[in-house]
């Protein structure tokens, strides 16, 4: 090969950006590499969407769906967005099944989000509390599945409303509304007193 001319075959073979397309062509080794790279993302979203007990099963199911559908992946959207979409849909399905199994609602129990020991303006103290994070995870379970998905993607995955809309297959405004209602529900579950602040009041 002429000096200075990049070896494209080798570049593609070694570039992780091409893994989704290689996996789409049936390359199992490329798929295995994708699993290794993105398993954290899938598990993290599942953990927050369906809770610790179901997260492992939901992650496995999501990866099975990824493998089953990857041959249709054409790279029109980012692989990450496509992966989020499959993961979130898998979790939403799991939640729907779980909901059908449940015979009673447990969502009316409120949890407390006490002020951090260092005072209201001490974010560091708040960040140190593992207990409070556990409370957030528990409270998340009580809010509507679509709202939960929007809150997780927006505030725990840091995605834009455009990306969330694409993943949830809804208009941007709906994604924004779901996140807004989701975080309000989350707050009401964490700090029930805020219900009084919002009851019947509408912003002009």
């Amino acid at each position: 090969m002429a000096e200075g001319v990049p070896d494209l075959t080798r570049m593609i073979a070694n570039d992780d950006n091409f893994l989704p397309l290689k996996a789409a062509g049936g390359d199992v080794a490329a798929f295995a590499r994708l699993v290794q790279i993105h398993s954290g993302l899938v598990y993290r979203v599942a953990l927050r969407m369906v809770g610790a007990e179901e997260a492992q099963d939901a992650s496995q199911e999501a990866w099975i769906r990824v493998w089953r559908n990857i041959r249709h992946f054409r790279g029109d959207s980012a692989f990450g967005t496509w992966l989020y979409k499959i993961t979130v849909n898998t979790c939403l399905n799991s939640l729907r099944k779980e909901r059908r199994r449940e015979t009673h609602e447990t969502g009316d129990e409120f949890l407390q989000l006490p002020a951090p020991p260092g005072g209201e303006d001490d974010p560091e103290a708040a960040t140190l509390s593992r207990e409070r994070m556990g409370e957030v995870v528990e409270a998340l379970k009580g809010i509507r599945a679509e709202h939960r998905a929007a809150v997780v993607l927006r505030h725990m995955e840091g995605l834009s409303y455009g990306e969330i809309a694409q993943i949830l297959e809804v208009p941007d405004g709906t994604a924004k509304g779901w996140a807004s209602r989701g975080r309000a529900s989350l707050l009401l579950r964490l700090v029930p007193e805020t219900r009084e602040s919002g009851d019947g009041k509408r912003a002009s």
Partner: protein, 109 residues
């Protein structure tokens, strides 16, 4: 939009300049609203910390996904191979029995 949601959007920094000023006016007027805004701020701090956490997937999940893909790919290939062989044998048998007039593609003259 309900006040609680409006305050949430304000705390998340998602309001326009005009909406933000209106919300600040609401906060100044009502201590309950201020408490709500403070509660939102605390919640967002927790959510941002959780955002930075990167729990690793259990090894079992990764292994299971990879194993399933290899097994499924093996069966897919085996199916294609057997399907191809079976089609070839059927064609040969049909040709042998003389059920196809002439060699395929050559057409009769």
């Amino acid at each position: 939009m309900e006040v609680v949601e409006r305050i949430g959007a304000y705390a998340a920094g998602e309001l326009t300049e005009v909406e933000a000023r209106e919300t600040e006016r609401l906060l100044l007027e009502d201590p309950d609203h201020r408490r709500t805004a403070e509660a939102y701020n605390r919640m967002f701090v927790l959510l941002s910390v959780m955002q930075q956490e990167a729990p690793e997937a259990p090894r079992g999940v990764v292994n299971h996904a990879i194993r399933r893909a290899y097994v499924s790919a093996f069966f897919r290939q085996a199916e294609e191979l057997l399907g191809g062989l079976s089609r070839a044998y059927t064609s040969a048998f049909v040709y042998y029995l003389g059920l196809r007039g002439d060699a395929a593609g050559h057409g009769g003259t």
